[in-house]
């Protein structure tokens, strides 16, 4: 890498098991309250027209909810933001329903199921919900999906010099896929990243690729979440931001690779 890639964190959104929003997660990660796992409660989406709202599944609602939270907390305008969506499995429930129908005698799958089956379904609904015609990306890197999405954002920031929204999300599959890919709970996180500091910037990140093992979390329940849900691989980074604690943090990436982030809190 030439000059290290970097970004300013302008806003965060989060939804996970027992974690209804970023402020709750922030208190847990800062050690102010203990982590009590519970269901991931995904609210209905008010931002979509009723016809589109009926067509969206849990996973799309998860992605849009965290994205909108990060934008709101940063005081930004979603309609002008490029976005990077990154997910290991996309909408597993929808995939299960399609495979189930295709395995039967009558293979007539529903048109809505089919258009929701694309990996970029969340980004498509995001555009409809926000009116944003900016470029959206839809990535997958299996367990490395969070870091891959962050790297895509950092490259965009460096080259295009405009803010970009990262939305990383994953949800549990129903059986029988759940046994093959045992993601225990839905978890989504969004980071609004900017190329320069603003009055509300939370932290500065710089990144480089490394080869050391990723950092783990000392709380066994948070560590269980981190190691089981690809989007929750972000937790060691979020912990630093929540604690306004500077230093270096290693995030899971691909085989032979980790992402080393240096966090510098703004206040």
């Amino acid at each position: 890498m030439s000059a290290p890639l970097g970004a300013w964190v302008e806003g965060l959104g989060l939804l996970g098991p027992g974690l209804p929003d970023w402020p709750t997660a922030e208190r847990v990660l800062a050690g102010e309250t203990s982590y009590e796992p519970g269901p991931t409660v995904i609210p209905p989406l008010e931002c979509l027209p009723p016809a589109e709202r009926r067509r969206t599944g849990r996973v799309v609602r998860l992605a849009l909810t965290v994205g909108l939270e990060a934008v709101r907390r940063a005081g930004a305008d979603a309609a002008a933001l490029p976005a990077v969506f990154s997910s290991s499995g996309g909408d597993g429930e929808n995939c299960h329903e399609i495979c189930q129908v295709l395995a039967g005698a009558d293979r007539q799958i529903s048109p809505t199921r089919f258009h929701n089956s694309v990996h970029n379904a969340a980004s498509g609904y995001w555009g409809i919900a926000t009116g944003s015609s900016a470029a959206c990306n839809a990535l997958c890197a299996h367990d490395a999906s969070f870091a891959a999405g962050l790297i895509e954002c950092l490259a965009q920031l460096r080259v295009d010099e405009t803010p970009v929204l990262l939305i990383a999300y994953d949800a549990d599959y129903p059986e029988p896929m759940r046994s093959a890919r045992p993601i225990p709970a839905a978890f989504g996180v969004a980071l609004l990243l900017a190329p320069a500091a603003g009055p509300g910037s939370l932290a500065r990140l710089t990144a480089r690729l490394g080869a050391a093992p990723a950092e783990t979390l000392s709380d066994p329940r948070l560590e269980a979440l981190r190691s089981a849900v690809p989007a929750a691989r972000s937790l060691p980074l979020l912990r630093r931001v929540a604690r306004a604690e500077g230093g270096s943090v290693l995030i899971d990436y691909l085989e032979h690779r980790c992402l080393e982030l240096t966090v510098s809190p703004c206040h």
């Binding site: 980004s123 490259a155 460096r158 890919r181 691909l254």
Partner: protein, 397 residues
């Protein structure tokens, strides 16, 4: 953006394996579409199937990635000296300095579809040999290719439906510009499966006869499968005049509908304008456009309006999907390679199957091949979810 050289490229589709077979089919205006006899599919439609994909198992070290999609990927990598070129660049630049950005829409989902037929009647469990990571997961394509060459640089699969393997060029060029990598292996692979065949059928977007893009009587798309790859590197000063350059990339979102394009092609036009701006070119600099041109009534109409608005009505263009079928997540990569062949040989491929171009569509649609020196060409790829990407390619000299 600074131009990047396509220092190696290859493609495999129903037109044939490798560049010579692909170009020979284009030069002869031959279509590879044929009535569908894939697997147990009973649909009255034509598909662009690559023969013999399942006859070529993966080498033992890639066994965990076995599926039709990765078999198609690996047989294509062996064409046109592409594998030697990748190994060469990994040695020259370092395996951790070569990134992998590939597009696919359905990855190895055929394996999952078959596994669901084989569920245990009592427990409902999938067969014990079902492999999620190696076959089903969207990333398996990039993981397989990365492993095949021992590459250790950044990697991602972009899965934005039918724009996937056009958008990989944009992500790779940013990674190169940002100094993350010194070379990028890009491309796309999608293979026939029941999800897309029955899915497009459910949306009533599939033609019975081979698709006829931009025809007045067009009535839907034909699905194909393909693997296409390119190696992107900063353009050296001593490039051969015949070499192909990536000059510009442009991306946008429709913000309109999940499976229908904006009727005026608003997002498509934005992507084309962004690609021209990145290439520092005016609309008049484009000599030929490889349309997305799926053959559905609404897609072709929206694209035609967008092309007319951005490039004018006179620029010659065609869709090669009448020859290859719509190869979905591989379409951007396949059509990038077709653009590179067009530039190299000075051939604008005429759109096969189209008999009477729709007079309502304001474009100069080529039905017959036209030979002329080409300097710069554009390739359009638009997908579900309103995901648009346009690429501009040019000759080095």
């Amino acid at each position: 953006m600074r131009p990047l050289a396509l220092t190696a490229f290859t493609a495999t589709s129903c037109l044939g394996r490798g560049l010579d077979a692909t170009f020979a089919a284009l030069a002869a205006q031959r279509s590879g579409l044929a009535p569908c006899s894939f697997e147990s599919v009973r649909l009255e439609t034509c598909v662009g199937e690559v023969p013999g994909v399942d006859d070529v198992p993966l080498p033992a070290e890639l066994a965990e990635f076995e599926c039709r999609n990765n078999r198609l990927a690996c047989l294509s990598l062996r064409q046109d000296g592409f594998d030697e070129a990748v190994r060469g660049v990994a040695v020259r630049r370092g395996r951790e300095r070569v990134g992998v950005w590939l597009g696919t829409s359905t990855s190895g989902i055929l394996e999952t579809e078959l596994a669901y037929r084989g569920r245990d009647p009592a427990s409902g469990a999938l067969p014990g040999d079902f492999r999620y990571r190696g076959a089903h997961n969207t990333f398996s394509l990039a993981a397989c290719v990365r492993r095949a060459f021992g590459l250790e640089g950044p990697a991602a699969v972009i899965s934005s439906a039918c724009s996937s393997s056009a958008k990989v060029f944009a992500s790779a060029r940013r990674a190169l510009a940002a100094g993350l990598v010194d070379a990028a292996l890009v491309g796309g692979v999608d293979s026939l499966c029941l999800t897309t065949l029955y899915g497009f059928h459910s949306l009533q977007l599939v033609a019975r006869a081979p698709c006829r893009p931009f025809d007045a009587g067009r009535d839907g798309l034909s699905i194909g499968e393909a693997a296409a790859f390119a190696l992107l590197e900063p353009a050296p000063d001593d490039l051969d005049a015949d070499a192909t350059l990536l000059l510009g990339t442009g991306e946008s979102s429709d913000a309109w509908h999940m499976s229908a394009p904006h009727p005026e092609g608003r997002g498509a036009a934005d992507a084309m304008r962004a690609a021209l701006a990145a290439a520092h070119l005016t609309p008049g600099a484009i000599d030929y456009v490889n349309f997305h041109g799926t053959g559905t009534p609404s897609n072709d109409a929206a694209e035609a309006r967008a092309v007319a608005a951005v490039l004018g009505r006179a620029v010659p263009g065609s869709s090669t999907k009448g020859a290859t079928g719509h190869t979905l997540g591989a379409a951007g990569g396949l059509e990038a390679v077709i653009c590179a062949l067009a530039l190299r040989h000075g051939l604008m491929p005429g759109g096969v199957n189209t008999e009477a171009p729709d007079p309502v569509l304001p474009v100069n649609y080529l039905r017959a091949n036209r030979r002329a020196p080409l300097r710069r060409v554009m390739s359009n790829s638009f997908g579900f979810g309103g995901s648009n990407c346009s690429l501009v390619f040019g000759r080095a000299g």
